[in-house]
Structures are given as structure tokens and as C-alpha cells.
């Protein structure tokens, strides 16, 4: 089965061709075609995963063709199937398929229906290339491909100014990150002489620490852009202008985790440069708490999710940074389930409210009391929220608290502290969202009220699937013995960070404690303390949200009055966009204007001056030319004319005369040969 891995990206490619070229023909069937292709891909993935998980595993390279051969650089298009890419394939193909199906319902009746599914399949193709590549260049192709699709899909409703602006913003910010990524690739090639994973990792142990750190930081700049880390996260909240399934698929479940995947994939290089890991851990932790705090006060339902995504990505990078690569990938997987579910649920709500005024469709202040109208959506969202908040036994608990335990036991106490605070905020804002949307009195516009009903099955079934995954997706791969099955499975693909023994032991202890807690026994004080703390934080956040938004609904307003500065700061997202505008965009504009002025005045002045000088000089030399030079020329012409009159009789116009002369020439040549 593994040798058929090339089939996986082939199906989405077929979908792209069918929907892209025959879009006007397939029309309403575009969604079904695209979903069929995604489903076929998923089937192949499942087949491969079955072999990888139940079989001996291992790392397999499936060559397709040689792509570039230039000098010592040789890049082939070939696919790598190993535990890490298996997990990623499962996430991408699984969540991707579910969201394709969901989109059939969500995008129904949109004028750009075939175009949407063309882009969606193109995205699948690029993302699959990204995770299956066996070298950095092919990965970069996928990397750029998903960036392109992200741009296309954010700006899908391009007639809306804000959507096309958001698309451009995402593209440009990603470009900045990609520049770093490219530099990283150049550096890798310079230092190791190859771009294929196998050879780079073989050469990695010989890398000096500064070199490895440089590579790691440059690659991380790319990851910052793609995975929305400080300071390049600004595009992700704006990306919510795209259709909701896009937000769920690209900006929550898959594309934004590409950076995490890349770091995990490159872990053999990263462990050689611990400096880069420290930076990653710190940036991740800061991003986690920073965006979680913004998420506390946002009113747009999708923006809350967006900041939550940024925050959770921060968690994943935190895991990478502290060396808990497997935990990060684990969280990536669970996050794909519950965050995808949250977005799809939000999409379901927005879908139900599409008769409300445009400004109110996504604003939680105009929702409330939807629980009875949309029970399936509600219960699915609650499951997702519990998973995100980290309440056992939901998925988030297993993965997130593994990360926190990893940070704690590897000695990154600051990171751990920031992470725990962010976890508290997470639990608060996600339940704030649940309560504002589904509980309390209904604040929906009166016209829209009677149109609110549960979404069609094509949308709710994906919700239920993802809900089930959110419930069991953590406990099944993460449950003891030891650190859980997923650690054992992923181990061959990932490098061991320095001090990994303590970390692994800590994770194991926490798991053991959890197991013991479930059984009623207890040992491992720190582990138990961590677990208790984590559960307390989650429940505390939920309780706080319950108190502020259900019991005492006036509390938010009171707080707002008491800390007006802080509230505005958070509501306006720390003014980061404005700061960028003022500090980067405006100075560039000003520089350009200055350069333009310089060009107008100095450069053009010099040019004009020199032309003026040239004109005068030309006039003077013109006089000389007329008198002296022309005189000489005319004299010559006169002489030539005289001789021409003489010799013109040679030109008789008769071909045979000429030929006769030619024959004479031959005669002379032979004579020269004879009598030399």
C-alpha cells in the first residue's frame, strides 16, 4: 500500500483539473467531485496508516521522478512515509475530507461554488505535498502552494474590500516569513550539500551549534509567518474574512500547523542548536498568552476562534521549544479535531443567522439562547470547548497538559507559568463564547429569529464526527502505559532534545499519576500536583465565565468601567496592527516618497543638466562638422564620383559579362596556384 503513496496527491490534482477546467459544466456537482477526490485520498491514507500503525512502521521513500539536477544539486519528487507524516496525513486528509463534505452544505448556492472547491482541492494537493515531501524543496513547493491557496480562499469573496485586503495581508506577511524560510534552505544546502531529509539529518550531528541555531532561526521565521506567531501573527485574525470552512480547514486545522510540522520534521537539526529552541519556546509562550488575552474580550465569534488558534499554535511551539516534539504533534492533532469543530460549529451558527443584518451575523452580542434551536451544534460545540479548555477526559487535556508538564519538567518554569496562565484564559474565553452564544436570552434580530433552525445533515454529520474525535482523540493515543501510544509511534521520526530524559520521565510520571488518579491510588507528587492544577485552571476558567456571563451579567460592564484602559487595549488587540502601520508601513511609504523626490529633483536635474550641456556642445561641434568634416566628405565624394563615371562602364548589366570576369578570376587563381 505504501508504494501507492503517490496516489494521495493525485486525487486532489484530478479534482483541481476537473473543477478548474470544467467548472461551468459540473456546476452543482463540484462539491461532490471535490469531496469524492478528498475521500479517495483519505482511503489511501487510511490504508497506509493501517500498515504503518499495525505493521512494523519504519520510514519509506516513494520516488516518483527526478525533478531538478543541476551540478551537485539533485532534487527528486519523492514522497516520504514515516510515523510523523502518517499522523499529518491522517489529520490533513481526515479533517480535510470532513470539511469538504461540510462545505457542500455551507457553500450551497454560492456563485463561486466550483471555484471554491477547485481552491479547496488545490489546497489539499499542496498540503499533502508539504507533509509528504522527502526534501525541503518539495516541501517548499507545498508550503508556497498552501500560502497561495490561503490567499485565494481568504479573498474568495473578492468583491468585498475587507476580504481582498485580508487576502493580500496574509500573502504579504507570509512572504516575509517565506524569505526567512528560503534563506534557511540556502543555508542548509550550503552547509550540508543536500536538501533531502535523509542526507540533511545524516549530516546534522556534524553541524556546529551556531550553524544549527542559524538554520533553526531562519526556518522558524518561515514558521512564524505560516503558523502565525509573534510578530507575524497579524494576518490570521483578518483571515476570518474567508468562508468559515476555509477558516476551519486552513486557518485552524492544517495549514497553520505546517510550521509546527516543519519544526518537528527538522528536529534533528534543532537539537544541535538549543539556542533556536529556547527562542521558539519563548515566542510560543508569549504568543499563547498574548493572543489568549486578546481573545478574552473579542465579540466576533470567529475572531475569538482566530485568537484561540494563534494561542494554541503558541502552545505547540512551546512544546517544540522545550523539546517535547511528540507532545507538540499530539496537540497539533487534537487541536485539529476540536478547533476544526469549533470553527465548523461557529459556521453552523452563522449559517443559521444568515437572515440577520450582516454586521450581526458573527457578533456574539446579538446571539444568545440558541441552545434549544440548534441542539446538535450546541452539544458538539460544548464537547469541543471542553476539549479546548482541557477538562479530562477530553482530547485537549491529554495533549495540552503534556506540553505544560514537558515545560515544567524540562526546567522552563517561565514558559510553564505563561502557559498555565494562557490555559486559564483559554478556558474562560471559550466558555464565554459558549455562554454568550447558546445560553441566556435571545438577542437575535427579530426578523431573523424564525429562520433559525438546525443546519442540514451534510453539515451536522461532520460536526458529530469531529465531536467524537474531540472526545476520544486524546485519550486513545495519549493514555498510559508509559507516555502513551503516540509517543512510541512517533519516536523514530523525531530527534531527542538535550535533557529529554527528564522530560520523558516527567511526562511518563504525569501520565502515571493520571492513571493512578483514575484508579484511586497515588504517587509522584509533582505529577499529581500538576494534574490537579491543570484541572483546577480549566474548571476555574469555566466557572469564571459562568459567573460573569450567566449569573451576574452586569459583571463585564463593571470590569470594563473599572479598567477602561486595559479593556480598550485588549479590544484593539494591543494596537499591533496600528503599530505595524505606523512603524513599518508608513516609514516605507515615506521612504518611497523621499526617493521619488530625490529622483525628481536630483537625478532628473542631473540628467537635464547634462542634456543641456550636450546640446550646447553639439551646436559648437555642428559648426565644425559643417565646415571642416563636410568639406572633406564632399571632396572625397567628388573624387569618387569622378572615378565612378570612369568605371561605370564595367557594369554592363549583362550577367554573362560578370560571369566572364568570374571565370577570369578563377583563371588567375589557378595561375597563382600553378606558378607560385
Amino acid at each position: 500500500m505504501i508504494r501507492y503513496a503517490w496516489l494521495i496527491p493525485l486525487f486532489p490534482l484530478a479534482g483541481v483539473l476537473i473543477n478548474g477546467l470544467l467548472g461551468s459544466r459540473v456546476r452543482d456537482k463540484a462539491g461532490h467531485v471535490a469531496s469524492l477526490m478528498a475521500g479517495l485520498s483519505l482511503l489511501v491514507v487510511l490504508g497506509i496508516a493501517r500498515e504503518m500503525i499495525l505493521g512494523p512502521g519504519g520510514s519509506h521513500v516513494v520516488p516518483v521522478w527526478t525533478w531538478i539536477t543541476a551540478g551537485s544539486l539533485s532534487v527528486s519528487v519523492s514522497f516520504l512515509v514515516d510515523p510523523l507524516s502518517t499522523i499529518m496525513l491522517l489529520v490533513v486528509a481526515g479533517v480535510g475530507f470532513v470539511i469538504h463534505v461540510y462545505s457542500i452544505g455551507y457553500m450551497h448556492g454560492d456563485p463561486g461554488y466550483p471555484r471554491f472547491f477547485t481552491y479547496l482541492n488545490l489546497f489539499m494537493l499542496s498540503m499533502l505535498l508539504l507533509v509528504m515531501a522527502d526534501n525541503y524543496l518539495l516541501m517548499f513547493v507545498g508550503w508556497e502552494g498552501v500560502g497561495l491557496c490561503s490567499y485565494l480562499l481568504i479573498g474568495f469573496w473578492y468583491e468585498k474590500q475587507s476580504a481582498s485586503d485580508a487576502g493580500k495581508k496574509a500573502f504579504i506577511v507570509n512572504r516575509i516569513g517565506d524569505a526567512g524560510f528560503l534563506l534557511g534552505l540556502f543555508l542548509i544546502w550550503t552547509l550540508t550539500g543536500s536538501l533531502s531529509y535523509a542526507e540533511v539529518f545524516k549530516a546534522a550531528p556534524q553541524l556546529a551549534a551556531p550553524a544549527a541555531t542559524a538554520i533553526g532561526l531562519l526556518l522558524f521565521i518561515g514558521a512564524m509567518g505560516k503558523s502565525a506567531q509573534i510578530p507575524l501573527y497579524v494576518w490570521l485574525p483578518d483571515a476570518m474574512e474567508g468562508p468559515t470552512p476555509v477558516s476551519a480547514l486552513i486557518h485552524a486545522a492544517t495549514m497553520v500547523t505546517a510550521g509546527v510540522y516543519m519544526v518537528a520534521r527538522t528536529s534533528p537539526v534543532y537539537v544541535q542548536g538549543p539556542g533556536a529552541l529556547e527562542v521558539i519556546a519563548l515566542v510560543g509562550a508569549l504568543t499563547a498568552i498574548f493572543s489568549a488575552s486578546i481573545g478574552l474580550v473579542q465579540n466576533d465569534i470567529k475572531r475569538v476562534m482566530a485568537y484561540s488558534t494563534v494561542s494554541q499554535l503558541g502552545f505547540m511551539f512551546m512544546a517544540m521549544g522545550v523539546g517535547a516534539f511528540a507532545s507538540g504533534i499530539f496537540h497539533l492533532m487534537t487541536h485539529a479535531f476540536f478547533k476544526g469543530l469549533l470553527f465548523l460549529g461557529a459556521g453552523s451558527v452563522i449559517h443559521a443567522l444568515h437572515h440577520a443584518p450582516a454586521a450581526q451575523q458573527q457578533d456574539m452580542r446579538y446571539m444568545g439562547g440558541l441552545r434549544s434551536k440548534m441542539p446538535v451544534t450546541y452539544w458538539c460545540l460544548v464537547a469541543a470547548a471542553l476539549a479546548l479548555a482541557g477538562v479530562p477526559p477530553f482530547a485537549g487535556f491529554w495533549s495540552k497538559d503534556e506540553i505544560l508538564a514537558g515545560a515544567f519538567f524540562s526546567g522552563h518554569y517561565v514558559v510553564w507559568g505563561l502557559g498555565t496562565a494562557a490555559a486559564l484564559m483559554t478556558a474562560f474565553y471559550v466558555f464565554r463564547m459558549i455562554f454568550m452564544t447558546f445560553h441566556g436570552e435571545m438577542r437575535v434580530d427579530h426578523h431573523a429569529r424564525e429562520h433559525i433552525r438546525e443546519s442540514p445533515a451534510v453539515m451536522t454529520v461532520p460536526l458529530v464526527i469531529l465531536a467524537v474525535l474531540s472526545v476520544v482523540g486524546g485519550v486513545l493515543p495519549g493514555f498510559p502505559p508509559d507516555a502513551g501510544w503516540i509517543h512510541k509511534f512517533l519516536a523514530p521520526s523525531l530527534a531527542k532534545a538535550p535533557g529529554h530524559a527528564a522530560l520523558d520521565e516527567g511526562v511518563r510520571v504525569v501520565k502515571a499519576a493520571a492513571q493512578a488518579g483514575a484508579q484511586g491510588g497515588g504517587h509522584g507528587t509533582a505529577g499529581i500536583a500538576l494534574i490537579v492544577l491543570a484541572i483546577a485552571v480549566a474548571l476555574g476558567g469555566i466557572a469564571l465565565a459562568w459567573r460573569m456571563y450567566l449569573r451576574d451579567t452586569a459583571a463585564p460592564a463593571r470590569l470594563e468601567r473599572r479598567f477602561p484602559g486595559l479593556y480598550r487595549l485588549l479590544l484593539n488587540k494591543y494596537y499591533v496592527d496600528e503599530i505595524y502601520q505606523a512603524c513599518i508601513v508608513e516609514p516605507i511609504y515615506r521612504l518611497m516618497r523621499a526617493l521619488f523626490d530625490f529622483d525628481q529633483k536630483v537625478v532628473d536635474g542631473a540628467v537635464n543638466g547634462s542634456s543641456f550641456l550636450t546640446v550646447w556642445f553639439s551646436r559648437i561641434s555642428g559648426i565644425f562638422d559643417l565646415r571642416t568634416v563636410d568639406g572633406a566628405v564632399n571632396g572625397t565624394a567628388g573624387v569618387i564620383g569622378f572615378f565612378s563615371q570612369l568605371f561605370k562602364f564595367i557594369q554592363s548589366g549583362m550577367v554573362q559579362n560578370y560571369l566572364f570576369v568570374m571565370l577570369l578570376g578563377v583563371f588567375l587563381m589557378v595561375s597563382a596556384y600553378l606558378f607560385r
Binding site: 554573362q656 559579362n657 566572364f660 571565370l663 577570369l664 578563377v666 583563371f667 589557378v670 595561375s671 596556384y673 600553378l674
Partner: protein, 169 residues
């Protein structure tokens, strides 16, 4: 034996050519040239160039010369026979040609050519030189061959454009 045939053919060629050059009637000249070509084909066979002999007859005699005859018939040649046939520079030209001939004779008399090599095949034996010629023509000389084909195409288009009567409606 071979030499005898060579002299026979050579005499035929030279005689036919001389007659050809001096004919007033163009048709007679063309027919004499055909005769010269046929002798030449015999000479080629003698020199082991059997395929070339075939080409000489098929293309030159059977194709090009028929084209000449065809064209001559389209033009009115009856008048031309009664006109002055020789150019005014004739005597000079003849003198130059004879002088040049003498010089060439002198050059040839010096001799001194590298020794002869034998063919890999004899007369009338198989495989003939057609296979060998094809082999060379389509491998070593493929590019000149293609160039020649382009040349023929260009000549065809040129001939059609030149000879076409302008149709005015």
C-alpha cells in the same frame, strides 16, 4: 575492361555535351544533355555508385530534364532558332575557357594523390551500396539532408510564385 568502358562513356559524355552546347535548337540540346546524363549514369555504375546512377536517371533524366522539355514546349522556341546564337564575348570566353583548360591539364599532370582504397563491396554484389549510403545519409549527414529538404521547399514555393499568372478578376 573497366577502363575501356570508362573511355566509352567518357567519349559519349564529352561528345554529347559538345553537341549540346553548339545546338541552335533548344529541344535538341536538351535531348543531347539527357544522352550525356545517361552516359554519366553508366559511368557512375562503373564507379560503384549504383544508387547514384539510379538517381541520375530517375531525378535528372526522368525529372529535371522532362521539366525542361515541358517548359521549353510551353515557350515558343521556333523563333529563337533563327536568331543570332552566340554572345558578343564568345571568342574571348572561348579563349579563356581553353586557357583555363590548359591550366587544369597542367595541374592534373602534377598528380600526387593519396593512394586508392578498395570498396568494401564489388560490382553487382549484395548488399549493395544503397544500404551504406542510406546509413550515412540519415546519420552523419542528417542535418544537411534536412537543409536540402528545406531548400527544395523554398524553391518549390519560389517557382510557383514566379511562374504564376496573376489572376485579375
Amino acid at each position: 575492361m573497366e577502363l575501356a568502358f570508362f573511355y566509352l562513356f567518357a567519349a559519349g559524355i564529352v561528345g554529347a555535351s559538345l553537341l549540346m552546347v553548339t545546338r541552335a535548337n533548344v529541344i535538341h540540346a536538351a535531348l543531347l544533355l539527357v544522352l550525356a546524363f545517361l552516359f554519366m549514369a553508366g559511368l557512375f555504375v562503373l564507379a560503384g555508385a549504383e544508387f547514384l546512377a539510379g538517381v541520375q536517371i530517375l531525378i535528372y533524366a526522368g525529372g529535371i530534364m522532362v521539366l525542361y522539355l515541358f517548359s521549353i514546349m510551353l515557350m515558343n522556341v521556333g523563333v529563337a532558332v533563327r536568331l543570332r546564337q552566340w554572345h558578343r564575348q564568345s571568342v574571348l570566353a572561348l579563349a579563356a575557357a581553353v586557357l583555363l583548360g590548359a591550366e587544369v591539364w597542367a595541374v592534373l599532370g602534377r598528380g600526387g594523390y593519396p593512394g586508392a582504397k578498395a570498396w568494401g563491396w564489388g560490382l553487382g554484389q549484395t548488399p549493395g551500396n544503397v544500404e551504406a549510403l542510406g546509413e550515412v545519409l540519415y546519420t552523419k549527414f542528417l542535418f544537411p539532408f534536412e537543409v536540402a529538404s528545406i531548400l527544395l521547399l523554398a524553391a518549390m514555393i519560389g517557382a510557383i510564385v514566379l511562374a504564376k499568372r496573376e489572376i485579375t478578376r
